[in-house]
């Protein structure tokens, strides 16, 4: 009798243990490393603390490779629940992978999505369905070296506000100090850089469907002509993003326009070397500022069932204002939730770290990244990269180069129209 009782007690205990063990593991692909990686894991740990039935396995893949890795994992039918997707691939991923629409009624009340700034959320909206939520977003801004400004006889506390002022300042720097004046990031294949340039000038980079380039408009040609002039006059030595970044951080270049995500690194390298200034992206002819976000969104791939439930729980958690703001503060990515300063912690942070203000102020003026269709994208981007190379080589004016490029891009993208 005694024995049987012990056995029953044991069984009961095992049963309790088993139910307690009934956790769901979800897999989260990301490219965060270093300090942002630590922050991400800390947030995930906090989430697990409040949701003990969920275990989040985070898998780091390099930012260059993550899209391919996620694709491969999906093709091999490995578990993939939550993925970080580079902005320009959102449309492709929505079509080519079993991505889940977040505002599908099956996935419960979609009100939580409204917490995000609508212009950010739009980057993940395709035909009314939201496939991606903002995650590691940046916005382009102007970094400048106040020491060089002073040396060139410019007012270091008054950053250039428009492109005309940027060019004027750069020219003065070049003339007075012999140093490089300004550069504007081009990003991978020149895609993002061109997009930001022409969009801010009032041109349309790609149509919403991503099937047609339209930046051969007068504004587009004009702003790209300016980019050519920057190279031609020598205020912008032709180089790539890495080299411009290095030159700026070495204190050898007056201004550099690049993502807000670079702020932390710039602050560190300027430390004790030069006085760093940050300003919003320059205006084009006093038009309202329109810049595209850079960075990556989060998509949901979890199959229906407990993994989808758990993943949605995690996404909802990430959309909480305090969590989102913590993410922003500890990583340097933009705050993504409406009205971030309503959070006292965020308000305090902004007050103590003035250099972050321009990007916060620019949030409302940020547009979704143009996304590329499934086919012809590489060819189209090659044409855009070649356009930049040719512009900077300055053998022909932008008015000759740009329309030709747009024609070629559209030809490459036309495969998508036939369907």
């Amino acid at each position: 009798m005694e024995k049987i009782r012990t056995i029953f007690a044991g069984l009961a205990l095992a049963l309790v243990a088993a139910t307690a063990q009934a956790t769901t593991e979800i897999v989260f692909y990301h490219y965060q490393t270093g300090a942002p990686g630590k922050t991400l894991r800390a947030i995930l740990d906090d989430f697990q603390k409040s949701n003990p039935d969920v275990v989040v396995k985070d898998i780091y893949k390099h930012s260059e490779q993550i899209t391919g890795e996620v694709q491969a994992a999906l093709a091999a039918r490995r578990p993939v629940d939550v993925t970080t997707v580079i902005g320009k691939n959102i449309v492709f991923f929505a079509g080519a992978t079993p991505a889940v629409a977040l505002n599908d009624p099956k996935n419960g009340d979609a009100k939580w999505l409204d917490a995000y700034l609508p212009n950010f959320l739009d980057a993940g909206r395709i035909d009314g369905k939201v496939y991606a939520i903002p995650h590691a977003y940046g916005t382009p801004q102007l970094y400048y070296n106040k020491d060089i400004f002073r040396k060139a006889g410019l007012d270091a506390d008054k950053a250039p506000r428009t492109w005309d002022e940027v060019i004027a300042a750069a020219t003065q720097i070049k003339q007075r100090t012999g140093m490089a004046g300004v550069a504007h990031l081009h990003a991978s294949m020149g895609d993002y850089g061109t997009m930001v340039m022409v969009t801010n000038a009032g041109a349309t980079y790609l149509n919403k469907a991503g099937t047609k380039a339209e930046f051969d408009s007068p504004q587009g040609v004009a702003v790209l002509q300016m980019w050519q002039d920057m190279a031609k006059s020598g205020i912008m030595p032709v180089a790539n993003d890495q080299q411009w970044g290095a030159a700026f951080q070495a204190g050898q270049m007056g201004m550099y326009i690049t993502s807000s995500a670079a702020l932390r690194g710039f602050v560190d390298s300027a430390q004790g070397k030069f006085d760093l200034g940050v300003a919003q992206y320059p205006l084009w002819k006093e038009q309202p500022r329109r810049v595209n976000n850079s960075g990556a969104a989060i998509m949901l791939h979890a199959p229906e069932g407990p993994r989808r439930e758990a993943s949605l729980k995690l996404l909802r958690y990430l959309s909480r204002q305090d969590v989102s703001n913590r993410w922003s503060r500890d990583t340097g990515y933009m705050p993504l939730i409406r009205n971030p300063q309503a959070d006292p912690a965020m308000a305090k942070y902004i007050a103590e770290f003035p250099l972050v203000r321009p990007s916060i102020a620019q949030m409302a003026e940020t547009l979704p990244t143009a996304t590329w269709p499934a086919e012809g994208a590489l060819e189209a981007q090659v044409h855009i990269k070649n356009m930049l190379d040719e512009l900077w080589a300055a053998k022909r004016p932008a008015s000759a180069i740009v329309p030709e490029t747009v024609r070629k891009v559209n030809e490459a993208l036309s495969v998508n129209l036939k369907k």
Binding site: T33, G34, G37, E69, A72, G265, S269
Partner: protein, 271 residues
Amino acid sequence: MTLGAPWRAVGHLVLVLLCLSMVVPLLVALGMAFKPPNEVYSLVPWPQAPTLDNFRRLFEQVPFHLYLWNSIATTALRVGGQIVIAVLCAYAFARWEFPGREWLFGAVLGAMMIPHTLTMIPIYMMIADLKWFDTWRALVIPNLAMPFAVFLLRQHFRSFPRELFDAAEMDGAGHWRALWLVVLPNLKPVLSALAIILFIDCWNEYFWPLLVTDAPESRTVQIGIREFLQADHNDFGGLMAGATLASLPALAVFFLFQRKVMDTFLASGIK
């Protein structure tokens, strides 16, 4: 053999210049490993305020010691396996006439023309079926066949004095013992060179380990290094510190085998 004095002078001059061109960029990298962030971009190759922060960060941000261990262990397994398998294969091609020999050799050589990077997806799916993710198996086994090592070894086996094969056979060594006791000891310089090549190749591999490992516990050094070269978050100090540490084992292997190459080089009696 000794060259005439003027030629020797020219030779030394060219080599000194060449060596300088090798060393300077590497010193720039080495210097960067010891620079604080605000010096990383400075032109001066050595740090003004040297710091070990980059190395500290290396071990704090990523489990670099685990990466090192994985790299060392899988590289040793892989290079060892690659050499043994290639030696056996090249020996068969060099020693025997057998039906289909040319055809099989063509197939082995042909495999060299297939860039592994580009056939990764099918192999990846195979690994998924085998459930080998996050294991040393996944890092080692798919890469054990090295056709180009077969090619190199066959060239040397073929120029191996026929008489020594015969002598070994007369002395009672079958093909197996002849290989290990007579042929290989005399090919030490080539085997050492091959070991160095394979080591470097494996040690620096990046794509495949990133693809098949998900957990830090099974990742390799190169992944750890590349984590510091990330869009918007480039950490060149960390990158160079990692590269410096990662090249130490390679350096050790090189000097170890360099001795071997040298010893046999001086002792050479074949041919």
